[in-house]
Amino acid sequence: MLEIRNIVKQYTNHRALDDVSIHVKKGSIFGLLGPNGAGKTSLIRIINQITAPDSGDIYFDGERLSPSHIGRIGYLPEERGLYKKMEIGEQMLYLAQLKGLSRKEATERIKHWFEKMEMQSWWHKKVEDLSKGMQQKVQFVATVVHQPDLIILDEPFSGFDPVNVNIIKEEILSLNRSGATLIFSTHRMESVEELCDSIVLINKSKKILDGKLSDIKNAYRTNTYRIEYLPSPEPVSSVDGLFTISDTTHIPEESITLTVKIAQGKNINDVLMYLIPRVHIHGLKEIIPSIHDIFVQQVTAQATHPLIETHE
C-alpha cells in the first residue's frame, strides 16, 4: 500500500528523518512508534504531502505519491482542531468537499456516520458547544468520512474517555475489515499490541526496528517463565545448567511464584521434569516482553544523552 524508500528530511540544524524506509502492507494495521521528537510527525506530514522530503521516494499503491492521492488518505493529526464557531454539519461538509467529495455525496456519508456514532443532533451545534470527547468524535468522523484507503491516526486515543476509546477501536477494526489500511502513530504501547500487525520503531530520526509484531516479539523472547506452586517445606533453588531463579514471590498458606530463566539448550519440559517430583505445580506462563519493554529497551540502549524535544 505504502512504500517509503530512503526518506531524508533535513531542517537547518536538525535532521528529522535519516534514511528511513518503511513498507506498509495493504489491509494491515501498522504501528509507527517512537518517543516524542523521534520524527514520527515529520514522516506523517511527508506522507500527507504537507511537506516534501529532501530525498527519497514514496509509492502509494504502486504509484509515485502525488496530489491525486490526497482524497484516498485520511489524516487525524495529533493536534486536533476544528473551526470553533462553525456548525458541525457545515464543517464536515467543508472538510469532506476539500477531500474531493461532491456536496451531495458528502451529505449522505456524513449523515450515515452521524447516525452510526449517535451524533445526529449535533448537526447545527458549534464545536465550542461540544465537550472535548465529542469534538474528538467529530474529528474522527472528519478523518474517515471520504472512505480513504489509507488512514493515518496520530495518537488516536489521547483525549478520549475509555467508553469512546472502545467505540473508536471498534470503528477502526471495522474499517480495517472493510479493506482500509491503517497507520498508527503513538508512543503508547498498550494500544499497539492490541491492534497492530506490524510496527516500525523510530528513534532520533532513524529506524531502529521493524517487522511483524509476532516476529519481533519472538525475537525478544528470553526463555523466561513464571511458575506457581503450592507452598512446600523444601525451598526450590537455582540449578546450574538448567535454570536460574530471578525472582520469588511468597504468599503464605497460598502459593509461591518463581520467575525462572531457562539455561541455554534446555526447555520448559526439562525444568518441569525437575520440579514435578519436588513441588505441586499450580500454574505456568511464559513471560513474553511487551512492546513497551522492547521499546524502552531499544530507546534507552540508544540514548547516550537525554532526548531533546524538538518540534521541527
Partner: protein, 443 residues
Amino acid sequence: MNKILLIIKREYLSRVKKRSFLLVTFLVPLVIIGIYALTIYLTARSFENNKATVHMIDQSGLFAGKIESTKNITFIPVTAAENTTEERNRMLEAEGKNFLLIIPSDMLTSSHAELISKETAGFTIQSDISRQLENVLRNIALADAGIDRNTVESIHPEVTLSAKEITAEGEKDSSAGAAMGIAMSLSIVVYICLFLYGSQVMRGIIEEKTSRIVEVIISSVKPFQLMMGKIIGIGLVGLTQFILWIVLSATLMGIASAGLVDGRDIRAQIEQQQALANGEVQPVIKPQMGMFGTVKQELDKVDFQLIIATFLLYFFGGYLLYSALFAAVGSAVDSDTETQQFMFPIMIPLLFTYILSFGVLINDPNGPLAFWLSMIPFTSPIAMLVRIPFGVPMWQIGLSLVLLIGGFIFTTWVAARIYRVGILMYGKKASYKELVKWFRYKG
C-alpha cells in the same frame, strides 16, 4: 482550482452571514445619514425655540423706536420710572429667557453696551442684538456723513473666482475644493479599510493555526491555496460591503436631500423675516443655498464613475498586496499580541502616504513626489486615489495598476513561502531571522 473556490466560498459566506456584518453594513450609512439629518433638524429647531425678552434701558436715547422685535426676540423699552433695582430684578426673574440690555449714554463713541441675564446669552441672541444696534449706529453715521442709505445698499460688489484648467480639450472648470474633500475622504477610507480587512486575514490565519485545524486542511489542499482562498474570500467581503455602502448611501442621500431642501427653506424664510424685522429697507435676499450651490456645482464636475471604479480597483489591489503580508505575519505568530513587532514595518509606507496625502499630495497633486508615490505599489493605493479627483492621465493610472499587480504577485510569493512553514510552527517565537530561514526552505 475547485478547492480554492470552496475555501473562498467558506471564508466569504462565514463572514457575510454573520449578524455583525449585516449590522455594520446597514447601520453605518444609516448612522451617518442619521447624524446628518439630526444636525439639520436641531439647527432648524434652534431657530424656532429661542424666544427671549430683552428689556432695553436706553440711556443714550438714540435707539428709541428704532429697534424692532423679531420672531425670537421681543424688545421692551424700560422707562426711567421702571429703572429701579427691584424692577430690574423682577424683570430678570420673570418666566422665560429675560435679558437686560443697558445702552450707556456715550454709546455713539464707545460702541459698547451690556447685556445682563441670569444665564449666559446664546450666540444667536447676542449676534442678533448687536446686529440691530450696529445697524442703528451705522444709519446714524451715514446720516451724519450725508450719505443716503439706499445708495449704500445698492453698491454691493461681489467677486467670485472661477478657476479654470487648461487641458487638451480646452478650458475646463476646476473643482479643487470638492476634489480636495473627496481626496481626503478616500485616503482615510482606504487607509482604514486596508488595515481592517488585512487584519481580518491575519486573525483568520491565527485562528486556524491556534485551533490546529490548519493541519487537517493542508492535508487536503496546498498551503498556498488556503492562503489565497482566505485572502480573496475576505477581499470579496470588503468589496461587497463597499458596494452595499455606495448603493445604500446613494439611496439614502437621495431621500435625505429631499428633506434637506425643506429644512433649508425654513431657514431661508427665517433669515428673510429677520432681515425684514431688522428694518432693512431693501432686504437683500441672497441667492438661496449660496454655499451649498457652489459645492453642488463643483461636485457635478467631479467624475464619480471614474472615482468609484478606481477606488474599487485600488482598494482591491492594495488589499491583496497588504493582506499577503498580513497573512505572513499571521502564520508566524501564535496570538494577536505577538503581531506588534511585525505590524509596524508593514504600516510605515501606508502611514507615510496617509500623512503626506493631507499636505503635500493635495497641494501638489501632479508634482514629482505625488507621481512617484502613486507608482510605487506599496503607496499607490492611497496616493493615486488622492490624485484622481484632481485628474490623472490614463497612462499613469494604467502603469500604476500594472505595478500594483506586480507588487501583489511579489508580496504573495514572499508571503506564501513564509506561510507554508509558519503555520506548522507551534509555540515558537518567530524572529526576522527565523522568517528569512523559513523563506529559504525548500519544497
